[in-house]
């Protein structure tokens, strides 16, 4: 594979909270390649947002990158400290779309001005030229009558339209990386599909590298080329969409897949993962998922597993892949998914 656009290595992010130190990200690593689309999945609190926010220096004031490196265009973003440094990246090279479009726009400024602001900031466009480009971008994100919409305020837009505007702001400067942090979670299902389609189309048109954060595996299959699964502040498995959906190796990924509602299977109670994610204030020994894993091995409680290679594109952090490990079968639901896949796809 070619050189990665961004390469995050063993990133550790800590927060100071009420006098205690919390380790939110415990050595997460991820490579992003030009023009690909990567989904980061995991439950709430697994660190999906925090990890990506550290790439544009938008951690909350009480958080910091403790160690590790984030290489981007030959620079280590983990060492960036001042606002001036971050302003060369934020919005210009790496842009971000947040979850709730209803509150993401300034209610007192016109939609046009809020997009134009970005253009003026990063591309030095002024006046009429900036306005023309803004209207172009509005049209590009699928807003009809862009000239009229340019002058309107956010409250005159619906939720889906506002998310289009937020996306317009993000792509205004042709960033190399576009991070979408659960952009459709607060929208209703039909609008979700439209926004997803818009993001996919823009990604192809602009050849931008897309990072899509979600806890909805159904969305993942729609939008991503590759999937990274996060748990308790580390990436525990990554691979292509097919590899994760049909050949997952980590018990946590199995559990996640098992909790997907299965169409066409009636009468089965929905699977849910027992227990809660670990308390990140404490130091975690071994595999963070072990306490919730009924089939955990002894070593899972003692030693942290390294990444084992499954295929050139598929890695997982679990002792089950160690040659000495006993053979543990994935849950029935996962096996059934794999069987169905093999029957139809091949």
């Amino acid at each position: 594979m070619s050189e990665p656009v961004l390469s995050a290595r063993d990133v550790v992010i800590k927060f100071r909270l009420r006098g205690q130190t919390l380790t939110a990200i415990r050595g997460a690593s991820l490579d992003l390649y030009e023009g690909e689309s990567v989904a980061i999945v995991g439950e709430s609190g697994s660190g999906k947002s925090v990890f990506t926010k550290s790439w544009i220096g938008m951690l909350d004031a009480n958080g910091w990158v403790d160690s590790g490196s984030i290489l981007f265009e030959g620079k280590d973003l983990a060492r960036y400290k001042t606002e001036e440094e971050w302003l060369t990246i934020r919005g210009k090279k790496i842009a971000m779309v947040f979850q709730d479009p209803m509150t993401a726009l300034n209610p007192l400024r016109t939609v046009g001005m809020q997009i134009q602001e970005t253009l003026e900031l990063h591309q030095g466009l002024r006046g009429g030229e900036a306005k023309r480009r803004t209207i172009e971008i509005l049209a590009q994100v699928g807003i009809s009558e862009p000239e009229m919409r340019y002058r309107q305020y956010p409250h005159e837009f619906s939720g889906g339209m506002r998310q289009r505007v937020v996306i317009a702001i993000a792509i205004a400067c042709n960033p190399r990386i576009l991070i979408c942090d659960e952009p459709t979670t607060s929208l209703d299902v039909t609008i979700q599909a439209q926004i997803l389609e818009l993001i996919r189309r823009l990604q192809k048109e602009l050849k931008v590298t897309l990072v899509y954060i979600t806890h909805d595996l159904g969305v993942v299959a729609n939008v991503a080329d590759r999937v990274a699964v996060m748990y308790a502040g580390e990436i525990i498995e990554y691979g292509t969409v097919e590899e994760i959906f049909y050949d997952a190796r980590h018990p946590y990924t199995w559990a996640l897949l098992s909790s997907l509602p299965q169409l066409g299977i009636k009468g089965q109670p929905l699977y849910s993962i027992r227990g809660t994610p670990p308390n990140l204030f404490n130091e975690i020994h071994g595999d963070a998922f072990a306490p919730r894993n009924p089939q955990a091995l002894k070593i899972d409680f003692v030693k942290r597993p390294p990444f084992f290679q499954v295929s050139p594109t598929h890695y997982a952090k679990t002792w089950l892949l160690d040659p000495r490990a006993p053979k543990v079968e994935p849950p029935e639901i996962v096996k059934a998914m794999r069987a169905r896949y093999e029957r139809y796809a091949v």
Binding site: I56, M58, E83, L87, I89, R90, G91, K92, A95, M96, F98, D100, T103, A104, L105, N106, P107, L108, R109, E117, T118, L121, H122, Y153, H155, E156, V166, I169, A170
Partner: protein, 314 residues
């Protein structure tokens, strides 16, 4: 926008009418003895009746009310009865308003400039030393009665700095202490509210988006936070501008400033009905007009109100 303004204006006029009528009727409930002044013991019943008749107080209340409004519409505020007998009220007020107004405007400018700067500084240093220091000041001014610290300002202000104790309109130095005294409360109020509104805005999602866009903190402060925080504050600005005319009762009497403050108290205690009525008219129209202007200003600044179909719904 026009419909909204007209509707608001109509509301204001109705409110003003209700206040004036109520005060007028309440004044009629006062015991009549007050109208005779110091001569009360020496007057015969016939003389007393003549005085009441001359003041129109023997007519039925609705006739009195009608006469009052007729006079008001002609722009006539009437004459003072007991405060300065038979002097037109316009004349009394005309001599006093300029002082109160000059002090009021100066104090307002001072409290806006210093108060808003302080509020911005507090919001920027939220939770840190400067924020806490200014908060201490705000709490002090709000918690300690003005009568206490204003007295100390006059006492130590004049003894330590040798500034004049009493107001003298030809001596600029004599303006300093009363001006500071009048501004302290306004500075505290402006600073506190602006800080609060700015902190509110800073926690909103659109600030996060503005940061993600790559705007500098300074640009975000000026273009987004300050402007948005100013909207709720703007609503009260016209009212405070207009109230400056009414003057500060306590500070004016401390420094013997011949302003309008305190006149209302005197007029009520001496039962000078026309003067009370005139002052109530001035105070309440200033207040109501101020709130009206505040609403209009707010509607200009906030597009969500401007486009509301049911203009006066709030």
């Amino acid at each position: 926008m026009l419909k909204y303004s007209l509707k608001r204006l109509l509301h204001s006029l109705v409110t003003l009418f209700i206040i004036l009528t109520l005060v007028f009727l309440l004044m009629r409930l006062l015991p009549v003895e007050g109208y005779y002044g110091e001569r009360a013991d020496k007057l015969t019943p016939a003389q007393k009746e003549a005085i009441l008749r001359k003041m129109g107080l023997l007519d039925p209340w609705y006739v009195q009310l009608r006469n009052f409004y007729l006079q008001l519409f002609r722009g006539d505020l009437g004459v003072s009865v007991t405060y300065r007998a038979n002097v037109p009220i316009k004349e009394i007020l005309a001599a006093k308003i300029p002082y109160s107004f000059a002090f009021g405007v100066a104090a307002l400018v001072l409290s806006l400039v210093v108060g808003l700067a302080m509020g911005i500084h507090m919001a920027q240093t939220k939770g840190l030393f400067w924020d806490k220091l200014w908060t201490t000041y705000v709490v002090f001014v709000n918690a300690v009665p003005g009568a206490v610290y204003l007295l100390f300002i006059q006492l130590y202000g004049t003894s330590v700095t040798r500034l004049p104790m009493l107001f003298d309109r030809y001596n600029v130095l004599s303006w300093i202490l009363p001006l500071i005294s009048m501004s302290l409360g306004g500075i505290a109020g402006n600073a506190m509210w602006l800080r609060r509104f700015m902190v509110d805005e800073l926690n909103k999602d659109y600030i996060r988006l503005a940061r993600a866009k790559g705007m500098s903190s300074r640009a975000i402060m000026v273009k987004h936070v300050l402007r948005n925080a100013f909207v709720p504050l703007a609503q009260y600005l016209p009212a405070s501008v207009l109230f400056t005319i009414s003057g500060s009762i306590y500070v004016e009497s401390l420094y013997s400033i011949p302003g309008m403050g305190g006149l209302l108290v005197t007029a009520i205690s001496r039962q000078d009905n026309p003067l009370v009525q005139a002052l109530v008219l001035i105070y309440s129209s200033l207040g109501i007009f101020g709130l009206f202007l505040g609403d209009i200003l707010m509607a200009i600044l906030d597009p969500r109100i401007r486009l509301e179909r049911q203009g006066g719904a709030r």
